[in-house]
């Protein structure tokens, strides 16, 4: 074995060659790797390093405000505090939750559940652990933030619900769920929804969600490794973009807030619905559905038990009864039968029938609500005293199909299209309908109940209001209107809704309307009228009461002992003033404990009508001033319009 030993040394000469190969080789590998990391993948790592230091802070947009027709705020916003959890910066989840749980008295499981709901979103995005912290809770968390890395208090403008907020009208907000989020974001990449966003779930909030939500803004901030904001390198090239949130559009309703308040007060304690409408254009002035619910609870979040309680309530607090509740119209339906009878010349206004207190057709006996009978009555008196026998006779002579023809012409049995909540069509029975649904021919004994608004008949409170508006205005069916204008947060008009005439009722002549209106006026204005409790001093009011028997009760049964479920529905529909109607009130009080329409529903309408005239008197000078302002504005507009011409001249 021969090796070249170097001089006197034990070192082998050729090993130096290999050593330089290793040296140069390894250095080259390192340089190649350096090139790969810095040049080839540089862009990628630059992006990661930017993501490390730049955090996007979402700025929630305040929702649009909902105002009444006079600009009074029905639903506004105020700032609320949330507990935000930023996963990226949380060092130890368990400890953090333990500390938070002790500070806020919230079980750890609640936090865990919140976290699971937001699973899969980027780690720098904050997760709301608890909404709407009290000031005390905010200060508790703030003073312990040293122990809570990654926990933050965020401020967001949120709905400021006042007591007696009309829940069904305005609706409520709820957190968006995953499927809804995907559905909404599919065609909306510009202003996408995010988990935890609140969206409108009912009423105006839901219908006008796209306008109300506004546009989220964002702010880029620089943070250090510990998630603290840092102001290092604040030079031009680090300028971080900031986009302000755009508040949602304001919705101006046709509602009159003062009248709405009165309506709520007048209807307090009752179940059912009230609709107040302008018969000249279908604009709704106030609208109530009871029982309501507290819309603010959704901002906090409901427990499962509270949910179940709400859902199992026999009076369906979530149902908007103004459009979704169907009731037999009772005697309020007699107006329809009266119109049909006069128009079809079955009777003339002066024809008199004798009411002995009962009516026999075939082998069935139908009773009048006064067992003793009303004696000789004509149309006006029959309406005024709500004589059932008169209408039994007229109804039988008309037949169910002819009644239905007029009922449908007047807008019953079909949706009116109030763009608010789910609307039911009601029901106008005909022989054909019975054959189709029950597979049975129409029995002659079924007609008399139809003529007094019982039996198969169903109307919704909005239909009842619309029916009386049509009678009041002499045959125009207006689409119920709830939204007046949509205005951007800077006051720019975005959208204006004008009254929409659905159609004019055919068949019915003005004289017929006049005759029925006369009868309806005496219901309220005559001393014998059933609706006299709706009177307002100095105003001619027309209306019709209705008491719907849910089951027939024995005559001398004390109604106050009957359980709620089996009590009469009290109805009242009215319009005023008779000479030129400008307001319609429809009251439906379910299972009312006080009594029929005259005793229970009419006084409610009376209170509303009274307030209406009181407000009208109050507002007259204001209205005059507003009109003056309007002319000034128009003058300005016209002068602006002239400007370009001026310039051209120059």
């Amino acid at each position: 074995m021969k090796k070249i030993f170097r001089r006197e040394s034990v070192v082998v000469e050729n090993r130096f060659f290999w050593a330089s190969v290793v040296l140069v080789g390894m250095t080259s590998i390192l340089i190649l790797r350096l090139w790969f990391v810095q040049v080839y993948r540089g862009e990628y790592y630059r992006r990661i390093s930017e993501n490390n230091r730049i955090r996007k802070i979402e700025i929630p947009s305040p929702r649009g405000i909902i105002l009444d027709r006079y600009g009074q705020v029905l639903l506004g916003n105020r700032p609320f505090f949330d507990l935000a959890y930023i996963p990226q910066y949380v060092k130890d989840k368990e400890t953090t939750f333990k500390v938070l749980s002790r500070l806020l008295h919230v079980p750890i499981a609640t936090f865990e559940k919140r976290l699971q709901l937001s699973a899969g979103q980027p780690k720098f995005l904050p997760i709301n652990l608890k909404r709407n912290l009290s000031i005390h809770e905010v200060s508790t968390v703030q003073s312990n933030r040293v122990f809570l890395p990654g926990i933050d208090i965020s401020v967001a403008p949120r709905r400021d619900y006042q007591p007696d907020t009309p829940a069904h009208l305005l609706g409520y907000l709820g957190e968006i769920n995953k499927s809804k989020l995907e559905e909404l974001n599919r065609h909306n990449n510009e202003n996408p929804y995010m988990m935890g966003d609140l969206i409108g779930k009912q009423g105006i909030e839901a219908r006008w969600e796209p306008h109300l939500r506004g546009k989220r803004g964002y702010r880029m901030i620089q943070v250090d490794a510990f998630g603290r904001q840092s102001h290092l390198f604040d030079r031009d090239r680090w300028n971080l973009p900031e986009v302000a949130a755009i508040p949602g559009d304001d919705i101006i309703l046709t509602i009159d807030a003062e009248l709405q308040k009165t309506t709520v007060d007048a209807f307090r304690g009752k179940y059912g619905a009230v609709v107040v409408m302008n018969p000249k254009n279908g604009q709704i002035l106030s609208i109530v559905s009871e029982p309501g619910f507290d819309p603010s609870i959704y901002q906090v979040g409901l427990s499962g038990e509270e949910w179940r309680a709400l859902l199992s309530d026999p009076y369906h607090p979530f149902l908007d009864k103004t459009t979704g509740g169907e009731f037999p119209p009772g005697s309020t339906y007699k107006a329809v039968v009266a119109l049909a009878a006069l128009e079809e010349k079955v009777v003339d206004p002066q024809s008199r029938f004798f009411c002995p207190g009962h009516f026999t057709t075939g082998n069935q006996v139908f009773h009048c609500h006064i067992r003793e009978g009303h004696g000789q009555v004509n149309m006006r008196e029959a309406l005024m005293r709500s004589c059932d026998v008169y209408f039994y006779r007229v109804g039988v002579e008309l037949g169910v199909d002819r009644i239905a023809k007029y009922a449908r012409a007047l807008g019953l049995g079909q949706r009116l299209g109030l763009p608010l909540n789910m609307e039911r069509p009601g029901l106008v029975p005909t022989t054909a309908w019975k054959k189709l649904t029950h597979r049975l021919p129409w029995a002659p004994g079924e007609t008399p109940p139809i003529a007094i608004g019982q039996g198969y008949n169903l109307v919704t409170p909005i239909q009842l209001a619309s029916l009386y508006a049509t009678i009041a205005n002499g045959g125009s069916i207006w689409k119920p209107q709830i939204v007046n204008k949509v205005v951007s947060h800077v006051g720019k008009l975005i959208l204006e809704e004008s009254p929409q005439l659905i159609r004019t009722v055919p068949y019915i002549s003005p004289a017929t309307y006049a005759a029925v209106r006369e009868g309806l006026e005496s219901v309220v204005m005559d001393e014998q009228g059933t609706g006299k409790r709706a009177r307002v001093e100095g105003v001619r009011i027309a209306g019709k009461t209705g008491s719907v028997q849910v089951v027939s009760l024995k005559k001398n049964h004390n109604q106050r002992d009957v359980s709620m479920k089996w009590k009469e529905h009290a109805m009242f529909a009215a319009f005023a003033p008779v000479e030129d109607p400008e307001i319609v009130v429809a009251v439906v009080s379910e299972n009312d404990s006080i009594g029929g329409g005259g005793a229970s529903a009419a006084p409610i309408a009376g209170k509303i009508l009274n307030q209406y005239w009181r407000l009208k008197k109050q507002r007259t000078p204001v209205a005059a001033a507003a009109a003056a302002a309007q002319t000034v504005r128009e003058a300005e507009d016209s002068s602006n319009a002239e400007d370009p011409e001026d310039k051209q001249r120059l």
């Binding site: 001089r7 006197e8 070192v11 130096f16 250095t27 390093s49 620089q222 490794a225």
Partner: protein, 402 residues
């Protein structure tokens, strides 16, 4: 094969006559090392200023650099290699004593017991051990010269000494430093003729020991670091965090870098161990490929010149000491750079002249100084000048050998 042992004196006579034949005029090696040293010192200090935002670490490093430059000149121009040869075992004994003291009463920082404090100086003897390992190996082969290949039985003393160093450093715990001491020695052994059978035996025992070590000796964090090498993104918040953030820092520097004091990863503290193990990430982030490439070339050139100096050396000791010191500088550079570039597990190996740390800085200066002294010895400069190193050597020869 007959094993022939010869004494030192047999070689001493021939060394002079042979040397002048092979020698070329290569005094520029000294100059080159000085230039590279100066450049790296400046770059290192500048970079540390950025990494520490000019705090007390930086000023402490200035003091280290001043001391280091002093040692660089002392070891380069005043102490001849033969002085180191003479005192090699004494130095070994001294360093081992210090390491033993560290193990018993050392200061604990960051979970490791690595520091001792004496008369206001705070040092890390394990850093000195690296140079000592090179010194002791060189001295061993100088003393035990064989014409034939070395067998395992010939190397037991060396193995024992290096094993002692390893055994004293490893329990601190500091696998990186202990390992690099062994690697330095192994690099030196690689330059001598070793019996093939012995290599196989050592290699296979090493493998078995490694397996035993993996399951018995390594700490969990050490295992994790090795595993993380394969997938740093696996747990970016945990043990892979260092590797990943380092890569991000280096990569985001791109070609021209973000500028001095402008590294976002560094200045916003996303990069861990900015002033020690991951100091080079700072440099790469702020000065980009342009700066990092230049630095790599400087380190490569420094190692190459060092290797050339060792190649020119005339006797076993200077030659092997040169090889050992080259291995020390080059290994630290390669391991640290690989670690920073995500090619090697995170081990506590500093980057020479860049990382903060007094003992490491001084060790590197001593190593570079000694390389210069070897070059000067090769050129025969120590003979003419007769500095006290040469005098000391003569004195030592007289007293120790009689």
């Amino acid at each position: 094969m007959l094993k022939t042992r010869k004494t030192n004196s047999d070689f001493d006579g021939t060394a002079l006559s042979l040397g002048s034949d092979i020698r070329e005029s290569n005094q520029h090696y000294t100059r080159m090392l000085c230039v590279i040293f100066a450049l790296l010192v400046m770059l290192g200090l500048m970079n540390l200023y950025s990494a520490t935002d000019g705090n007390s670490f930086f000023y402490s490093q200035i003091r280290n650099a001043a001391l280091g430059i002093g040692l660089f000149f002392t070891f380069g121009w005043l102490i001849a290699p033969r002085t180191l040869n003479t005192y090699a075992y004494w130095i070994f004994g001294f360093v081992c004593t210090l390491l033993a003291i560290v193990l018993v009463i050392g200061d604990v920082a960051g979970g490791s017991q690595r520091w001792i404090e004496f008369a206001g100086f705070r040092g890390q003897p394990s850093e000195l051990a690296k140079v000592t390992a090179a010194l002791v190996t060189a001295r061993f082969f100088y003393t035990n010269k064989l014409r034939a290949a070395y067998k395992l039985s010939d190397l037991w003393l060396l193995a024992g000494m290096i094993g002692l160093i390893f055994a004293l450093i490893f329990p601190q715990p500091d696998l990186g430093t202990a390992g690099i001491c062994v690697l330095i020695s192994v690099s030196q052994i690689a330059f001598v003729q070793v019996d093939r059978k012995s290599i196989i035996i050592v290699a296979s025992t090493g493998l078995v020991l490694l397996i035993i070590a993996w399951f018995g000796l390594f700490h969990d964090y050490q295992k994790l670091r090795i595993l993380n090498l394969f997938n740093p993104a696996l747990d970016p918040g945990g043990s892979g965090y260092h590797s990943l953030q380092s890569l991000v820092a280096v990569g985001s520097g791109q070609i021209m870098g973000k500028g001095f004091m402008q590294g976002t990863q560094t200045q916003l503290q996303f990069l861990p161990e900015r002033h020690t193990d991951f100091i080079f990430s700072v440099f790469a982030e702020e000065h980009g490929f342009a700066g990092a490439f230049l630095t790599f070339v400087l380190f490569g050139a420094m190692s190459y010149v060092a290797l050339e100096i060792a190649r020119q050396a005339k006797d076993s000791f200077t030659s092997l000491l040169g090889i050992g010191l080259t291995a020390f500088l080059f290994l630290e550079f390669v391991i640290n750079a690989s670690m920073v570039l995500g090619m090697f597990p995170v081990v506590g190996i500093p980057l020479p002249l860049f990382s903060y740390g007094g003992s490491a800085y001084l060790s590197v200066c001593i190593a570079l100084g000694s390389l210069i002294s070897i070059d000067r010895e090769n050129l025969g400069l120590f003979r003419r000048v007769k500095p006290f190193g040469a005098l000391a050597s003569k004195f030592a020869n007289k007293t120790l050998r009689g």
